[in-house]
């Protein structure tokens, strides 16, 4: 995958398959450690210990566990390539959290990509879920929540073209404000 946003989309699809009602993505830039941490947490069905040990290995995946497939190994490889690390924790019945750390200025860190588009499209496609995005850079923060957006919109769905367009612009402004100049591909 060429973009962090595509990894986020991929991991979020796992959360959907796990029957989550809430998916949260938190991106944190840390100057001191020179890292960008992407955390995706859900309240889905989770995994037992045995499964958890297997998910980062693409080749132990059996047919019944196929829905995990290559997504997690690809993300893990991407993190490690950029001098970062990867972690996944899960508890059967209460949810899963994936933590992907990238070296922020490493030449092999994937670009952020169309994160606003991914979050907007996920919100439009799964209106029964609360999809939240939080961007953190020191004291600066940006938050988005699909359930809050839906409360304001009332009977108008997020999938309305006018809403989609506005949301993408809104989230992109947040990305620019929080990560502009911090991630080299985003100008402040």
């Amino acid at each position: 995958m060429r973009e962090i946003a595509l990894h986020v989309l991929d991991i979020m699809q796992n959360s959907v398959a796990a029957g989550s009602s809430r998916i949260e993505a938190i991106l944190t830039a840390d100057y001191d450690t020179g890292t960008l941490t992407v955390m995706i947490g859900d309240d889905g069905c989770g995994m037992d210990k045995e499964m958890l040990e297997k998910v980062t290995d693409p080749f132990t995946t059996t047919r019944t566990t196929r829905r995990v497939g290559l997504g997690i190994p690809l993300l893990k490889a991407s993190c490690e390539r950029s001098g970062g690390s990867f972690q996944i924790s899960s508890e059967k019945g209460s949810g899963t959290t994936v933590t992907a750390v990238f070296g922020i200025d490493h030449i092999d860190r994937p670009v952020l990509g169309d994160l606003a588009g991914v979050v907007t499209d996920m919100s439009a496609a799964f209106p029964s879920m609360d999809i939240t995005l939080r961007l953190v850079n020191g004291a600066k923060q940006f938050s988005y929540s699909s359930s809050q957006t839906m409360r304001i919109l009332g009977e108008v769905p997020i999938s309305e073209p006018a809403v989609v367009k506005w949301l993408k612009e809104y989230i992109n402004e947040g990305i620019k404000d929080i990560f502009g100049g911090v991630l080299s591909e985003i100008t402040g």
Binding site: R67, G69, L70, L74, Q148, I152, V164
Partner: protein, 125 residues
């Protein structure tokens, strides 16, 4: 900076349009958005579909995503469910092909035979 108050404005503006919409069952477009689809370029394909459908103001067409459809080597895959429930599966999609499917299949009801899974499998033989 944008504020959430602007959403309220959008809500008011679109509410009337929604009420005017017909209740008839429309066409459903489904994009495979699992690891295989995403890696093969399903995002740009979905963006092209949404953009083209928005541009033409097609009101009764919905675009959604799903997981792995099963033939990963033919991704990106787009399925078009017509109002009568019949399904056409398009494979190895690109944004350009997606625009063509909207114009020919969704607007004019002519299936793009050369882009279907049937055509792809026949070519492989």
């Amino acid at each position: 900076m944008k504020s959430l108050a602007e959403l309220e404005e959008i809500r008011k503006n679109t509410l009337d349009q929604i009420k005017m919409r017909t209740n008839k069952e429309g066409i459903r477009v489904v994009v495979g958005m699992a690891t295989c689809g995403i890696a093969a370029g399903a995002r740009p394909v979905m963006n092209a579909l949404v953009e083209e459908i928005g541009k033409r103001r097609l009101r009764d067409v919905s675009v959604t995503m799903t997981g792995c459809i099963g033939v990963c080597r033919l991704e990106p895959i787009v399925e078009v469910y017509d109002a009568d429930g019949s399904k056409v599966t398009y494979v190895k999609m690109t944004p350009e092909k997606a625009a063509r499917v909207v114009a020919e299949h969704i607007v004019n009801g002519r299936v793009c035979q050369d882009l279907t899974i049937g055509a792809a499998e026949a070519a492989e033989k």
